[in-house]
Amino acid sequence: MASSATLLREQIQAALSSRCEAAFLIEKKAAEETLSSVVEEIPRGALTEIAGPASSGRTSLLYSLLATASSGQEFCALLDTGDTFDPESAAAAGVRLSQVLWVRCGGNAEHALKAADMLAQGGGFGLVAIDLGDTSENVVRRIPLAAWFRLRHAVENTRTALVVMAQQIHAHSCSALKIELSRSRALWRGQLPGCLLNGLEATARCIRNHRAQERSFTISR
């Protein structure tokens, strides 16, 4: 069915392109701009979802994205729904705090989405991140698909990477990239009383264009 539609389209284009060329001009998509990360290149101008349970490395991944964007002198925004952002830990991860707009939403996911929409519409940010990591799944599930579409639309054709972090995937078709993280194990070093937490080992399942890729990574302390 799809192939016959494509064939028909090509026939129409071939017949009419000489008469109205502009209507059938095939736009070549510019090379996709991305934000590099440890698991997958995060696309700009699109919505990316990071999902995972506690201690799965999702916050470390988010802070590394903030560090990458802010180290390139880009302004970032973090919509912190549950007020869980730790500036000390973020600074240690290389985030330039003076370039990150931190909005504490006091547990209100609606405020976080509205603020993200306003900031994305305003433009100029390299990364807009919504942290729904500690928000109840019941609340996040109630966010209508239209809200995700609106957010995706707000960053389309811009250099802003929109990242949503939650416990599960919610935006479905609205997100260009989904990163599902799972905790493999915590890395401990030594024996009590000289034992130390050394880091986390996590597995990321990246889904882009219905194709999934799995990779493991280690986050050291």
Partner: protein, 414 residues
């Protein structure tokens, strides 16, 4: 012709007196005022009559000197008591006994004159001009001209600070936001036009509203960057008044814009784009209205070991690019810390935890680490921290608060 008034500690009075005779006034120092009196002969007559009129007007004991150039008048007024009139042909003779420190100049110049044994204006004025130029340079020749009473310069005129303020008394009190904004819009447009005329922008808006049978309403908006767009300023005022409306009908409006140098920024060609300041400020004002002003900004770490010590400041562009660091283990902080029940095994090692965030058997742990501080302040803390791993919560940091005698979960490693 210039007149100089000298009276220690009476500058406002001297300026007011000078203002009666001339609009061209120089505030030379905290006790000296010079002003241009050319043309006053037609009104008062001779120089003596002008001097007596100035003396009558000043009303206090002040030295007054009239000379053909400002510097001669200043030197005479600062050193000679009463009224001194220096005709151009006798200025050098009158100034001759004055000490050379009145000339000012660099410390090296004063030291050189002292080494030469020059004790008066007259002695310095008598030195050969070429010799002074060879030994003291440009400064020396200029100072010698002053010592001869032959200096020549323009007055550094005193400029009154321009106030960008408008006020309007309303015939009928305004009790709704829309008509108030209409009036504010007109006032802002006029003030912005005036600012533009003077080549200034503003970084602070002060709005004072006099209310009917209620205390006045004052709003001060501080902008992160200088702006001059009346529409942006109006929008910011609107958002502020929406959040904090006046509590009674308005009788009088006073609006003031504080002038500052306009913003001049040269962006690099290869720098990434940043949010437009005016647009960002409106967006931030909207977000502040939604979540509270204290919850919006850039975090700044404080110089202390106290846990969770930060302040919220403005968003500032950092200079220079840096190489991003590899990902590091991040911490998610619970605010406030989550109370927990912890059962300890041998040697005080946590073995089991129960809390609203989850709990269960602790499968691995590291610690303890003792932290305490600020014992001299109300923010005193004394903790024993552990990193613990459970199946349901992952890896968390818990602590025993010695002051409260309870356990808390500080946050999660994530």
């Amino acid at each position: 012709m210039f007149a100089c008034l000298y009276a220690p500690g009476n500058l406002p009075l001297l300026v007011e007196c000078a203002g009666h005779f001339s609009p061209l006034i120089e505030e030379t120092s905290s006790d000296t005022v010079v002003f241009d009196i050319r043309g006053l002969q037609r009104i008062y007559g001779s120089a003596e009559q002008i001097a007596s009129e100035i003396q009558r007007r000043v009303g206090i004991t002040a030295n007054l000197a009239l000379a053909s150039n400002p510097d001669a008048a200043i030197h005479a007024a600062q050193a000679i008591r009463g009224v001194t009139i220096l005709p151009p042909d006798r200025a050098a003779a009158i100034l001759a006994p004055l000490p050379p420190y009145l000339l000012g100049g660099s410390p090296e110049f004063a030291r050189t004159l002292d080494l030469w044994g020059v004790r008066t204006f007259g002695e310095f004025a008598d030195l050969p001009h070429l010799g002074v130029a060879a030994r003291l340079g440009e400064e020396g020749t200029y100072m010698q001209q002053l010592a001869r009473g032959a200096g020549h310069r323009q007055l550094r005129l005193r400029v009154d600070p321009v106030v960008f303020r408008q006020q309007q008394e309303l015939e009928d009190s305004v009790d709704q936001l829309e008509p108030l904004l209409f009036l504010l819009s007109r006032m802002l447009n006029e003030l912005c036009e005036r600012l533009r005329f003077y080549g200034r922008s503003t970084n602070e808006i002060r709005l004072r509203l006099k209310l009917e049978r209620a205390p006045g309403h004052t709003t001060t908006l501080r902008l992160p960057v200088p702006m001059l767009d009346a529409r942006v300023l109006l929008k910011l005022l609107q958002l502020e008044l929406n959040d904090r409306p006046p509590q009674a009908p308005i009788e009088k409006i006073q609006l003031e814009l504080m002038p500052v140098e306009p913003r001049t920024t040269q962006h690099g060609l290869f720098l990434p784009s940043s949010p437009e300041p005016e647009k960002l400020e409106i967006t931030l004002a909207r977000i502040r209205g939604m979540v509270g002003a204290e919850n919006v900004g850039a975090a700044e770490l404080m110089d202390t070991h106290r846990p969770d010590a930060f302040r919220v400041g403005p968003l500032v562009a950092a200079k220079g690019m840096v190489v991003p660091a590899p990902p590091k283990l991040a911490f998610r902080r619970f605010r406030p810390p989550c109370p927990a029940q912890v059962w300890c095994a041998d040697q005080g090692k946590p073995a089991r935890i129960v809390s609203s965030k989850g709990g269960g058997r602790i499968v691995a742990c590291a610690g303890p680490w003792r932290t305490s501080g600020d014992w001299w302040a109300s923010e005193i803390w004394s903790h024993q921290e552990w990193d613990v791993e459970t199946q349901s919560m992952g890896v968390s940091r818990i602590y025993h608060d010695y002051l409260q005698g309870e356990w808390f979960i500080e946050g999660n490693y994530d």
